[in-house]
Amino acid sequence: MPAPTELVKGNAAVLILSVVAREPMHGYRIVKELDQLSEGYFAMGEGTLYPHLHQLEKDGLIEGYWETVSGGRDRKCYRITERGKRELARRQEELREFQKNVNRVLSVAPEAG
């Protein structure tokens, strides 16, 4: 079951940063990687991806560059910047803390259904 759209939108920046932190990649591959890594849970639409990518680029968290691939086609790849790495570490910590506390609260609730 794919994640609710709002949840993906709200966490798009950290998801993209996590994927790009592994290695530089272009938009098409970012969508594929997210899909594969989450086994289809984070099915980020292409239309959602680019505004987020461009915002991250404007914020200096990733930087884009053009490369030509076989067949003469150009594509814009993105790599994480030092600032992006720091932001990713901050968001990872934030999410871990959030997850830990959500689990703590959920663990005391009686099983529904």
């Binding site: 239309g47 505004p51 404007k58």
Partner: protein, 368 residues
């Protein structure tokens, strides 16, 4: 109409920037379509499916438009901050002078950059310039960089003029109306050097900019400044550094992958908007009051620019701001003010637009 054509039609960005966005989406579309065809889908169906997966063109273009053009309120306020700060320094100089000089203030020939106003100008210049250099070293081009750099650079230059004028005045010597040639030459050298550093990879442009710097410097030294009327000598000093300032704007913003020509226009607007207020006027209340309205127009223009959503809106707002400044200052306007308005329209609006067009044409990879 297919997805890419619709996005291209709806996006209102400077041509070079728009071409890059569409080119990236096209690359994605082609790869997606290719994969579907490779999986055995019919080419027409694959094209339709690829368009569908890219989403609603109107939604995608409006979100891209917002990212590329419209600043958040925080960024908008940061963008307007240097101009607002200098407005306060400028307007407050009369009461400050009165406080410092007491009853003699009204009788003195009072210059804009004295004592506290000069210190405040230099201080703000350093702060805004330091903030700008930090961003430039990080290779970033946030919207506010244009005004911070323009105001920081300009106000530091004015501080040098002001310091020289103040010390000359305190010695009881006569001061040329529109600045002192040695300060002007120093300013030209600094501006020329920065422009040459930006264009260091182009021998042709380095030589052109270096040549202009030397020529303007020599004219500044040889021309008898005091023979000019106030407005005309200011006009001369403005024209002398214009090509150099323009080169800085185009090199730092219009040619940079994260910048654009609208940002270059904003830089030029912020840089030139205050020059009509440099004139060495004796400080009477009505003169200070005459400057209040134009400065409010400048601040409002930059705020509206930052919050506007399209490239065309930004250009129209800047053009409106330039004309608005003229009318706000109208009761005190001279021939010089009229010429300055025309000059600003050419410099801030026309030149960056022509550059954009020519630059995009020379970069075929930017065209879809």
């Amino acid at each position: 109409m297919d997805f890419l054509s619709e996005v291209e039609k709806k996006l209102d960005l400077p041509p070079g920037e728009k071409a890059q966005v569409v080119r990236e989406l096209k690359s994605h579309y082609e790869e997606l379509k290719g994969e579907l065809v490779a999986a055995g889908m019919d080419a027409n169906l694959a094209a339709q499916e690829a368009s569908r997966k890219l989403g609603d063109a109107a939604d995608v273009s409006s979100r891209l438009q917002a990212v590329h053009c419209r600043a958040t309120w925080k960024t908008a306020l940061l963008t307007v901050l240097p101009l607002a700060a200098m407005m306060i320094v400028h307007i407050s100089r009369f009461p400050l002078m009165q406080m410092l000089l007491g009853p003699h203030a009204d009788k003195s020939v009072v210059y804009p950059y004295q004592m506290s106003a000069l210190i405040a100008t230099a201080l703000f210049g350093v702060i805004f310039l330091a903030g700008s250099i930090r961003e430039l070293l990080r290779n970033r081009r946030p919207m506010w960089l244009a005004t911070w750099l323009a105001v920081g650079f300009r106000e530091l230059g004015r501080s040098v003029y002001g310091l020289q004028e103040l010390t000359t005045w305190m010695k009881g010597q006569h001061i040329a109306h529109a600045g002192i040639p040695s300060s002007t030459v120093l300013w030209l050298l600094a501006t020329g050097l920065i422009a040459m550093i930006i264009f260091r990879r182009s021998t042709k442009w380095s030589l052109v900019l270096g040549g202009w710097t030397v020529l303007a410097g020599v004219v500044c030294i040889l021309v008898p400044w005091e023979s000019f009327a106030v407005g005309w000598s200011i006009a001369f000093s403005v024209v002398a550094d214009t090509p150099l300032v323009m080169a800085i704007a185009l090199g730092l913003f219009a040619r940079h992958p994260y910048g654009n020509t609208a940002q270059a226009s904003l830089f030029l607007f912020a840089f030139t908007a205050g020059t009509s207020m440099v004139s060495m006027r004796s400080v009477e209340w009505y003169v200070v009051a005459a400057d209040v309205l134009p400065t409010i127009v400048i601040v409002a223009t930059v705020l509206a620019y930052a919050r506007s959503s399209t490239w065309r809106q930004k250009i129209l707002i800047l053009a409106g701001g330039i004309v608005g400044m003229y009318f706000a200052h109208f009761p005190f306007s001279s021939v010089y003010d009229t010429l300055h308005t025309v000059f600003m329209l050419l410099l801030v609006i026309l030149v960056p637009m022509l550059f954009e067009r020519r630059w995009s044409e020379r970069r075929p990879e930017l065209v879809r």
